[in-house]
C-alpha cells in the first residue's frame, strides 16, 4: 500500500463515528459506496480534465453525491442520520482525497482493498469500544445512553487507536526479525 494512499483515509470518522459496532459498520458502508460511486463518475472525466479543472470537477461531484446521500438518510432514516451527526458529510473529503491521490495510477483493486481495510478498522474499533463500554455487542445504533465511559469519548478512541497501531507495528517488526534470524 502506498504511503500517499494511506493519507486518503480520514481520522475523523475513526474517532467520532465508532461509538458502537452498528454505527461503525454504517459509516464504513457509506464510505465504501460513496467513494466507489465517486470514482465511477470521475472515470470518464479523468482523461479530459487535467489539473485544477479535474480537482474542481471531483469536488463538485463529491459535494453533490454527499448532499443527496444525506438528504436520503434524513428522509428514510431520520433517527439514524441524527446518530451519525456530521460524519456522512465528511466522506466528501475522503472522496476528493481518493481521487487526487489514487485517481490516475492505482487500479480498482488497490482502492477497493484500501476501502475494505478502512471499513475493517472502523468495525474493529467500534466493536472494541462497544464491548468495553457496555460489555455486550449488538447492532443497535444508540450511542447516547452509554454515559461517560472513557472509551465512549474521543480520548478513549485515540488511546485505542494508538494501542492498535502499536500492536500492528510490533507484529510487523517481529516478522522482520524472523527473516533475519533465518539468514544468520
Amino acid at each position: 500500500m502506498k504511503e500517499k494512499g494511506l493519507s486518503a483515509l480520514c481520522l475523523a470518522p475513526l474517532i467520532g463515528a465508532t461509538q458502537s459496532l452498528g454505527l461503525a459498520l454504517l459509516i464504513g458502508l457509506l464510505t465504501l459506496t460513496l467513494v466507489s460511486v465517486h470514482r465511477l463518475l470521475m472515470t470518464p472525466l479523468r482523461e479530459r480534465l487535467e489539473g485544477f479543472a479535474g480537482e474542481l470537477a471531483s469536488l463538485i461531484l463529491a459535494a453533490g453525491l454527499v448532499s443527496c446521500t444525506v438528504l436520503a438518510l434524513k428522509a428514510w432514516a431520520l433517527p439514524l442520520s441524527q446518530e451519525l451527526g456530521i460524519y456522512p458529510e465528511l466522506i466528501a473529503v475522503q472522496c476528493v482525497l481518493f481521487e487526487s491521490l489514487l485517481g490516475r495510477q492505482a487500479p480498482w483493486r488497490n482502492a477497493l482493498a484500501l476501502l475494505l481495510g478502512f471499513a475493517a478498522v472502523l468495525a474493529t474499533l467500534g466493536a472494541v469500544r462497544e464491548l468495553l463500554a457496555t460489555a455486550s455487542l449488538d447492532l443497535t445504533f444508540s450511542a447516547g445512553l452509554r454515559g461517560q465511559h472513557l472509551v465512549n469519548l474521543a480520548p478513549g478512541a485515540f488511546l485505542l487507536l494508538a494501542l492498535g497501531l502499536a500492536l500492528f507495528n510490533r507484529a510487523r517488526s517481529r516478522r522482520a526479525d524472523h527473516d533475519r534470524e533465518g539468514n544468520r
Binding site: 487535467e50 474542481l56 428514510w76
Partner: protein
C-alpha cells in the same frame, strides 16, 4: 497533449449543472418526506413517556385554543388534545419554567379526570448529576410528582417537604424541584379552568 480550454470549460459547466440540478431536484422531491419524518420523530420523543392505552390519535396534530398562557410560575406554550375512540382522553401541555441554570421545558399530560398522567422533561440545562436527573429515565422522582399532584391540594401543599409541603425534593436540587412542582401546579390549575372547553371538543 493540450486540451482545448473550451472543452474543459464546457465539461466543467456541464458537471456543475448536473450536480447542482440533480441535488436540488432530489431535495425538492424529498422535502415532504423529511418534514413528515421530523414531525413523527418529534411526536415520538415528546410522547414517549405516556401510557399505552391513553390515546389513539396523533395528539400533536390537534392543537387546542388557549394553549399559550402566562401562568404564575411558568409559561404554557402549547396544548394538544389526545383522544381515544373519538372521546377526549387527555390534554398534553407544554410548559416552560425557570430552572436553576436556565429554562426547563416540560411536557405535562393530564387526563380527563384531572389526574396528572406524566411529567416529562423535554429540554433542560440544569446542573449535571443533580438537577439534570429530571431528564433521566432512571429517576422515579418525576413520576412521584405526577402521582402526588392533585387538583384539590391546598396552596400550602404545593411545596417541598422542608417547606411544609407534600413533595419530596430531588437531592441537591431544590430550585429545580420547586420549578417542576410549580409548573405542574400551574398546568393543573389552568387545565381546570379550561376543562370545559378542552375536553368537550371532539376530535375534528
Amino acid at each position: 497533449m493540450n486540451r482545448s480550454p473550451t472543452l474543459t470549460l464546457a465539461l466543467l459547466i456541464g458537471v456543475s449543472l448536473l450536480a447542482l440540478g440533480g441535488t436540488i431536484a432530489w431535495q425538492q422531491a424529498l422535502t415532504g418526506r423529511i418534514v413528515e419524518a421530523e414531525r413523527l420523530l418529534q411526536a415520538s420523543t415528546w410522547l414517549s413517556g405516556l401510557p399505552y392505552g391513553l390515546y389513539d390519535n396523533q395528539p400533536l396534530e390537534h392543537p387546542l385554543p388557549g394553549g399559550q398562557a402566562e401562568l404564575e410560575h411558568s409559561t404554557l406554550t402549547g396544548a394538544w388534545q389526545a383522544t381515544r375512540q373519538g372521546q377526549a382522553s387527555a390534554v398534553i401541555l407544554r410548559s416552560v419554567a425557570a430552572g436553576y441554570e436556565g429554562p426547563i421545558h416540560l411536557l405535562i399530560a393530564i387526563d380527563a379526570s384531572a389526574r396528572v398522567v406524566a411529567v416529562k422533561t423535554l429540554r433542560q440545562q440544569e446542573t449535571p448529576g443533580l438537577g439534570d436527573r429530571i431528564a433521566g429515565t432512571d429517576t422515579p422522582w418525576m413520576s412521584q410528582v405526577a402521582q402526588r399532584a392533585r387538583l384539590d391540594m391546598p396552596e400550602a401543599g404545593w411545596a417541598l417537604k422542608r417547606d411544609n409541603g407534600q413533595f419530596d425534593q430531588l437531592a441537591g436540587a431544590s430550585v429545580t424541584s420547586r420549578a417542576v412542582i410549580h409548573a405542574v401546579q400551574d398546568a393543573l390549575r389552568y387545565f381546570d379552568g379550561q376543562r370545559g372547553q378542552w375536553l368537550a371538543k371532539e376530535a375534528p
